[in-house]
């Protein structure tokens, strides 16, 4: 208790002097408590962000490396074209048994007798069946290599890849393991000889989807997402900005524009899968556009992104001080000159930020793409936005459904790629805002 309080209680006066200290302690305590809540909330968020990143990065970073076998392979005519009919029958080179070439080369390296069929089968388990396509392409493009011996790099099989990266528990009984003790021994031997080594996984960024995890890549998904983003940007930025400028600067304020505003805000909250259904009904069933095509996906995502861009743009336009408009109008600038010379440049950072955030949102969107068939298994890179394709988040969704151990790291690897794109886009938004920000 303070002196004033004692004085007040000791004196007989009509009204005690105001006690300004009442509750001050409690007020400060409340403030401290509130700050603590804030710190706790942020910590909570950061912990989960860290957990997410840790989980994804620790599982996924290995996807950027791929175990490969580099060894001299003899393109022997007896195996590729035993009857020497390749001049007359092009089917011969198509259908030749190329994996045997790799198997034989490996068997020779490991000293496995060609009569030991069981051992040979195990040798075949060391390398990926994608070698068939790789060698076939080599021979088809240059048939003169038949009969020669060339050093070739083929992918190790998914199981060897996982084992080599130490992702298998070797203490488990051999029968319930994906790799045998013999294969592990060979693997170690090959690694020691420098035949088997880890290299940067370019296939992850180039290849299309594959049921063999070691050969599966994000190539199609990356191109598909690129098409999607391009279409969304080209359509939603001009439409969104034009709509916002008209609504904010030119349209009369009446019931109709109020209704439009309410509806735009509502559209921003509509679940994305509904846009997918809309796209299915309108673009595919009614307009007859092809299924699984990035064009349709882009249109659907444009519809989904438009409200976001319109809301952000209108907010940015509204943030431009009215005095700037008055100054321009007072000088005799027309409404359009005022808008395009003064208001729009000042609103630009906000518009760009909104657009990039909208695009980032669209980049990570999966649900509407599932409905318009972009969830297809696509192995070939789409040449145009009308060809079947997938997108990054859909590819993640598809890989997450696969059973092999090797797909786990690919799924996480794909998530890392997607997150990297999102981070780059958001960084871009921040940089643009900094770059164009002007004070008044």
């Amino acid at each position: 208790m303070t002196d004033i309080a004692q004085q007040a209680s000791g004196q007989i006066i009509a009204k005690a002097p105001a006690r300004r200290d009442i509750g001050i302690r409690r007020r400060y305590a409340a403030e401290r408590r509130f700050r603590l809540y804030g710190v706790a909330a942020i910590t909570f968020g950061l912990v989960f962000l860290f957990l997410l990143l840790w989980s994804v990065l620790s599982k996924g970073y290995t996807a950027f490396q791929q175990t490969e076998l580099t060894l001299p392979i003899t393109f022997s005519q007896e195996i590729i074209d035993p009857n020497n009919k390749r001049e007359t029958d092009p089917q011969v080179l198509q259908t030749a048994n190329y994996p045997v070439l790799v198997r034989n080369a490996l068997a020779e390296k490991l000293g496995v007798a060609s009569s030991n069929r069981a051992a040979l089968r195990q040798v075949s388990g060391l390398f990926s069946d994608s070698a068939r396509v790789e060698l076939r392409d080599m021979v088809m493009s240059d048939p003169s290599i038949i009969g020669k011996t060339l050093p070739v790099t083929v992918l190790a099989s998914a199981n060897i890849d996982s084992a080599f990266k130490g992702q298998f528990d070797m203490t488990v009984d051999e029968a319930s393991r994906k790799v045998s003790d013999q294969q592990v021994a060979w693997m170690d031997q090959l690694a020691k000889e420098g035949v088997l080594a880890k290299g940067f996984n370019t296939g992850l960024f180039v290849n299309g989807n594959s049921s063999r995890p070691e050969a599966a890549g994000l190539g199609v998904a990356l191109i598909g997402s690129l098409y999607l983003m391009g279409i969304v940007l080209v359509l939603s930025l001009p439409i969104g900005v034009a709509a916002s400028i008209y609504l904010e600067e030119f349209a009369p304020k009446n019931r109709l524009t109020d209704l439009i505003e309410v509806n735009i805000n509502n559209l921003a909250a509509v679940p994305s899968i509904v846009y997918g259904l809309l796209g299915l009904a309108v673009f595919i069933n009614f307009a007859g556009l092809p299924r699984s095509a990035p064009l349709v996906g882009g249109l659907v995502l444009t519809l989904m992104t438009l409200p976001t861009i319109i809301i952000a743009t209108r907010a940015a336009l509204r943030a431009v001080p009215p005095s700037i408009r008055a100054a321009a109008l007072g000088l005799g600038a027309s409404k359009m000159q005022t808008t395009f010379h003064h208001v729009l440049p000042l609103a630009m950072p906000g518009i760009l930020t909104g657009t990039i955030i909208g695009l980032a949102h669209a980049l990570g969107e999966t649900a509407p793409l599932l409905l318009i068939g972009m969830v297809a298994f696509v192995a070939n890179v789409p040449a145009t936005p009308l060809d079947p394709s997938t997108a990054l988040p859909v590819q993640i969704y598809m890989w997450a459904n696969e059973a092999e151990r090797a797909f786990v790291e690919r799924t996480s690897g794909a998530i890392i790629v997607l997150l990297a794109f999102l981070v780059i886009m958001n960084l871009g938004a921040i940089l643009l805002r900094r770059r164009f920000e002007r004070r008044w």
């Binding site: 001080p321 005095s323 408009r325 008055a326 100054a327 007072g330 000088l331 005799g332 010379h341 002007r438």
Partner: protein, 268 residues
Amino acid sequence: MTEAATEELLDKKMNAVPLKMVGKDVSVYYGDKRALYDVNLNVRENTVTALIGPSGCGKSTFLRTLNRMNDTIDGCRVTGTITLDGDDIYDSSIDVVELRARVGMVFQKPNPFPKSIYENVAYGPRIHGLAKSKADLDQVVEQSLQKAGLWNEVKDRLHEGGTGLSGGQQQRLCIARAVAVSPEVILMDEPCSALDPIATARVEELIHELRTNFTIVIVTHSMQQAARVSQRTAMFHLGNLVEENDTDKMFTNPDDQRTQDYIMGRFG
């Protein structure tokens, strides 16, 4: 002849000065609310006309009807006629863009564009096509800044931001910007209310100089300012024009009791 004597002579001749703008039965409505009641007010050529009155009396509203800035406010309606050199400015044949080029405006708060000083002044001439070449434009910018008494202060930093100037300089920049399109009338809406006394004195001096080339209508809350800069004064109260008179008479011997009371500080 001394300057003071010249001024006296000018004031005496006031009634002979031609009318630049004539407002006849001007009423303004904001939606259902009426802000001005049948105002009849004349603006004389090359004269500073001050509009005074308590807050919310309609003086700014009247000022803004003179270059149709009220058009930008939703639900604002103007009745009556306002003429500029005899032409009704609310006539459908009048282009509002052209009107505003002839009747410029300076606002209460300095509002330079967030661009360079040069660009601020050059913007008006550029959109109205007043300068044919870069050299022409340079000349217009220099002359305008000189008329606004800002040239010597900014000539070395024309391409620096206009928002980096001090408040008083910014307001003079806004005046230069208005002057650059060669208007016939300049409307000023409390141009000194955001300025310190020194900057205010500078702007008042400037208004005095501008009077030779332009017709000026100024809204002000400061009685002293009205007395210092204007030759004619109009007093508004509750949307009505109370009195319009020569400034000298207005401040010494007004016709209306309300004017007397307001000037003496009894209300407002």
